[in-house]
Amino acid sequence: MAQAISARGKLAARFARHSTGIIASVLFVAPIVWTALSAFKPAAEARLPPLPPWPTTGFSLENYATLNSFGDGLWASAQNSIYVSVMTVILSVIVSVLAGYGFSRFRFPFKDLFFVLILSTIMIPFQSILTPIFLVLTKLGLHNTLTGLVGVYVTLQLPFSIFMMRNAFDAVPREIEEAARMDGAGNATMLVKVMLPLVWPGVVTIALFAFLGAWNEFLAALVLMTDQSKFTLPVMMTALQSGRFGAIDWGAVQAGVTVMMVPCLILFLALQRFYIRGLMAGAVK
């Protein structure tokens, strides 16, 4: 009898637990799914409230097509966003791997000063130094160029990614390097052939954070990119949503938001453990 009651209690607890989990999951995921589904409505239907969220008058890619007709088009902004994000990933990985290796394995003048300097930039909000960054880019002839934006984004990633890579290199036993050196490996060979495979998880983590950071950044892109042909997706979509291209086309907004969200979600779902790892590394230290 007692056993039957406790079994029923367990079942009830499990039921309560999973209904809470499912309701909460729906609340978190619904806005994303709602937008992605609504984007497939024909333009006339997309103007109406999204009830129900899925297309009722036929599946259509009209909203994506319209989006491509505003200003320089969706595709132009998407290309800018892809270029900026990919370059940010490549450069921040190269710079942080080199710096992480340098800080982990060598002793040189001003080493501690440089390390503290790089890490302490995390305390300074970049929002407060945007005006001078604008002037510096102008001086360098990089004003209103995607390259300039990449430079800013890479710098924003450095404190986290160099910290991450230095720790990753610190965790590699020195015996491995000594053995490779016996075999005649030089510094460059050592780094690329021997060390890089060992710190690979760290590299994936910093690449993921660099991509998400660059892809989603808004304020710096808004301030630094004044020419419409250089707009990244967030800036272009905000211009559209503010009515800069005439009456607001909510169908196009849904399509644009979907394009902005999907790469982040795919990368996160595919590389989830690297993302959580990065967060934990930040949280534990």
Binding site: S25, F28, P125, F218, F268, L279
Partner: protein
């Protein structure tokens, strides 16, 4: 991955560095690109901000040195102080709201049980979407004619006529809070979860044997042992909220009636709409001092308890 986790626990070896003597200088070459970037895009701009704040600096034409006049002007700039006050109000409310949702979620997903990983993934999904995307998405959901909330409430008969959530301060403000909680709660949840998982299980069990109820255990064990994690989650939330811009710019444009202008928004307006670069720099210095003070508090809160580790 396994090699790394295995080796981190190995005792630290004496710092015997690769190569000797002049070979060590090569390290400088490795770190040079990073240091150069930080110089060009951080140290120099930081110095320039301080320097520009002492000038009248229009976008075009000559700038002139005016000493502390910009700072004196800030003292009389009631709209800046209002923006700062609003930012503080927003920070307090949103941080409480985020914790109120994220803490129960963290407890919910802390222990490995069936489907927990799946729930965790769902809760976290909005966190990887950018603030700009989330704001654009919600600006649509909140729209009075084409959005979701107001028309849905109308169709369900909850309201007599469609209600514009973004037209007056209170509903607009709480809509932003709801959007930010939706976007950020999963992130805070993961941070809090790492703290919960670091609490030794036997401590909880011992307390159960001693007859402590769940609330007593939470107060006497969970909270004190999570001090550093709580401090970290708190600081991340506070610093992020003080710098809030995207959602207020995209959804509300600072309205209704400029009541939701945040500090960063006001600096943006002064610098890049009115092109008063010197004055914007002085405002930035004020913001910078606030954030650095906050970082110092953070370092103090996150200090390792004495005698431990």
């Amino acid at each position: 991955m396994t090699t790394i986790t295995a080796t981190t626990t190995a005792p630290p070896r004496a710092r015997k560095l690769v190569g000797a003597g002049r070979r060590q200088w090569i390290g400088l070459i490795y770190v040079a690109p990073a240091v150069a970037l930080v110089m060009v895009f951080f140290v120099i701009p930081l110095g320039m901000t301080a320097w520009m704040s002492l000038h009248n600096w229009p976008l075009m034409g000559e700038h002139s040195f005016i000493g502390l006049d910009n700072y004196v002007a800030i003292l009389r700039d009631t709209r800046f102080w209002n923006a700062l006050k609003f930012t503080g109000y927003y920070t307090v409310i949103v941080t409480i709201a985020i914790f109120a949702i994220a803490f129960p979620l963290a407890i919910f997903i802390e222990k490995p049980r069936p489907f927990t990983n799946l729930y965790r993934t769902f809760f976290f999904m909005p966190a990887v979407v950018g603030f700009a995307s989330a704001s654009l998405l919600w600006s649509w959901l909140l729209n009075v004619d084409s959005g979701l909330f107001s028309p849905a409430a109308y169709d369900l008969g909850l309201i007599d006529k469609k209600f514009n959530l973004l037209a007056t301060f209170q509903p607009a403000f709480w809509s932003i809070i709801a959007m930010v909680v939706w976007k950020v709660a999963g992130f805070t949840m993961i941070i809090l979860m790492t703290g919960l998982q670091s609490i030794p299980q036997d401590l909880q069990e011992a307390a159960v044997i001693d007859g402590a109820g769940p609330f007593a255990r939470f107060r006497a064990i969970t909270l004190p042992l999570m001090r550093r994690t709580l401090a970290l989650a708190l600081i991340l939330s506070v610093a992020g909220s003080i710098l809030a811009f995207d959602q207020f710019y995209i959804i509300l444009r600072g309205g209704p009636r400029n009541q939701t202008l945040t500090a960063v928004y006001w600096i943006f307006n002064q610098s890049f709409v009115s092109f008063k670069l010197g004055y914007g720099a002085a405002l930035s210095m004020v913001l910078l001092v606030i954030l650095v003070a906050l970082s110092l508090i953070q370092l103090w809160l996150l200090r390792k308890p004495e005698g431990l580790d």
